[in-house]
């Protein structure tokens, strides 16, 4: 049986004796006899490390690791530089708690301060928090912070990731507020409908850029209409795309959020991921979660501390805007290392290549019989196509160890990143061709 208890049986006896006790049951004297478990749990006996390794590795072996992934939809297979895996694995970063004791946490606090700065640079916003759980919760928290006493309704573009929509709706359900979906026209937010829906009770509008279909939204125009109606503007962004795309700040956003997974985090069957969240300065004290601030110590040396804590649940309790406590600190550190390793040019290159490869794939697929883009707009690295015999196509790709696009709304949503070589794209296109011309 495995155990991480270092005390030997005689040591345990010695400690019990020091307490004047004979057995462990006495430690649990406050637990009523009726509920004290006298038998073992109905789970298997413990195992040695080697046995555990075998058992868990066998489970991993039941999954399929694809050579090529052409599916995104909220989880993206970007390349992860080697150093990105090593640094967050350092034991001090890995095993520390939240850095409340700044004197022995300067390394962590500085790394968070650097992360906040990078997110501000990427988004163009003034202030970033230290992370939230993922892109969906970042969106839901952003919508919550935009609500005030008079404006309670959240508008969300229907061209948003379905999980993000569901999370925003769920947080609204919690506080008894309403979320309304702004319909889509030609794959992007229906501008005329948005204008009509921007009533005096609307607190904010959320748009995803690029949107769930991969299309680029006319974000400035949407933002201008939102502000004209006196509401706040939230943009959900792909962080690598931000290296080349107009910043949320330049599009007029008041809050910029997004799924940080592309920044060096593995697909991991859905998590842990990283919600990044940045805002204009006027909203700083409404941000949820932890925020690090630079200050000085008692000898005038540069120091970092968790700041603005009076916003948070451990102080403000039921009046806090969010119950957020744990965040995704290690994932934020991972993202920082990723951004440092890639640098501004490497990030832009990853974005340009993802876009180029997606367009190469789209062109190759759309040259095949019966395949066409559903929407005509500009896209980044995802696109929705209409094509026949989807199931056959995906299963033929599967045999070549390729995960094809995601069946969605009757079409297929494809994605390509810088990680996929031209050779792999050609192989995928040829495989699809084989099925469609059979």
């Amino acid at each position: 049986m495995g155990s991480y208890v270092p005390s030997t049986a005689p040591e345990q006896q010695e400690m019990l004796r020091a307490l004047g006790m004979e057995n462990v049951r006495e430690l649990y004297r406050d637990v009523p006899e009726s509920m004290y478990l006298n038998g073992p749990l109905n789970i298997p006996a413990g195992k040695s490390e080697l046995e555990v390794r075998r058992a868990v590795t066998a489970m991993a072996a039941k999954n399929k690791v694809y050579h090529t992934i052409l599916r995104g939809a909220g989880a993206y297979d970007h390349y992860i530089p080697s150093i990105v895996k090593y640094i967050p694995a350092k034991e001090e970063f890995l095993t520390a708690y939240t850095p409340y004791q700044s004197e022995i946490s300067q390394g962590l606090l500085q790394s968070i301060f650097e992360y906040q700065t990078m997110i501000c640079e990427l988004t163009g916003m003034d202030v970033s928090n230290a992370s939230v759980y993922d892109g969906a919760t970042a969106a839901a928290e952003a919508a919550a912070l935009c609500r005030d006493r008079k404006r309670r309704v959240t508008l969300v573009s229907a061209a948003t990731h379905p999980d993000v929509i569901a999370a925003i709706r769920t947080y609204c359900y919690g506080t008894g507020d309403e979320m309304r979906l702004v319909p889509v026209k030609d794959g992007v937010t229906n501008f005329d409908m948005l204008k009509e829906m921007l009533t005096a009770e609307v607190a904010s509008f959320y748009v995803q850029q690029p949107n769930f279909y991969g299309l680029l939204e006319d974000a400035d125009t949407l933002g201008a209409a939102v502000h004209q109606a006196g509401a706040l503007y939230i943009m959900g962004c792909h962080p690598i795309a931000l290296a080349i795309m107009k910043t949320p700040r330049d599009c007029g956003a008041d809050v910029a959020v997004g799924e940080g997974q592309p920044l060096g985090l593995p697909l991991g069957y859905g998590g842990p991921y990283l919600g990044f969240m940045a805002a204009a300065e006027k909203l700083m004290r409404r941000l949820p979660g932890r925020i690090v601030s630079e200050t000085m110590d008692n000898e005038g040396r540069r120091a970092f501390v968790l700041s603005l804590q009076a916003r948070e649940q451990h102080i403000r309790r039921e009046k806090a805007g969010s119950n957020s406590c744990s965040n995704e600190a290690l994932c934020a550190l991972t993202a920082s290392v990723y951004m440092a390793a890639m640098g501004p040019e490497g990030m832009a290159e990853a974005a340009r290549q993802s876009m180029a490869k997606a367009h190469y794939l789209a062109k190759g697929l759309c040259a095949l019989p019966g395949v066409s883009l559903r929407y005509g707009g500009d896209f980044f690295h995802e696109f929705l196509v209409d094509m026949p015999r989807t199931e056959e196509v995906l299963s033929a790709l599967e045999k070549k160890n390729i995960l094809g696009g995601l069946p969605f709304e009757g079409g297929v949503l494809w994605c390509a990143t810088e990680k996929v070589s031209r050779e792999a794209l050609d192989e995928a296109i040829a495989t699809v061709k084989e099925v469609l011309t059979r």
């Binding site: 004290r285 603005l308 009076a310 102080i315 009046k319």
Partner: protein
């Protein structure tokens, strides 16, 4: 500790001054000393209604937050926006750093004179 005689005080440690049909409200020297360094203040907006005994805002120190309790009912006619940038004024000069002005006052709680308030603080401290 300073308890100016021209002011009146609430038991939740706000000071109150009548000025041309309006009521000016701040926090007492005792309050600021109990709070420690004030780092931020949340203020209501002009035009908001306030009610006797209810919070009209709050003040934050590094590790705590305390409600500001309104000693009168009425409508906020002005807020001291300077405090948003310089909350330390509440510590340095609590009687100079007014927080809000209230007009259309319809109700006022029973307030203490400076001597009674000083005795009240002595008992509390």
């Amino acid at each position: 500790m300073n308890f100016p005689e021209e002011l009146r005080y609430s038991k939740s440690h706000e000071w109150v001054k009548n000025e041309n049909d309006e009521v000016v409200i701040g926090i007492s020297d005792f309050a600021q000393s109990e709070l420690g360094d004030v780092v931020f203040i949340n203020l209501p907006q002009e035009g908001d209604s306030v009610t006797v005994g209810e919070a009209f805002g709050d003040v934050e120190s590094v590790k705590a937050v305390s409600d500001l309790i309104c000693p009168v009912s009425g409508v906020v006619s002005a807020i001291n926006e300077e405090l948003l940038d310089a909350p330390e004024k509440l510590n340095r000069a609590p009687y100079g750093a007014w927080i809000i002005r209230v007009a259309e006052v319809s109700e006022t709680e029973e307030l203490l004179g400076s001597a009674d308030y000083e005795a009240f603080c002595a008992a509390e401290g």
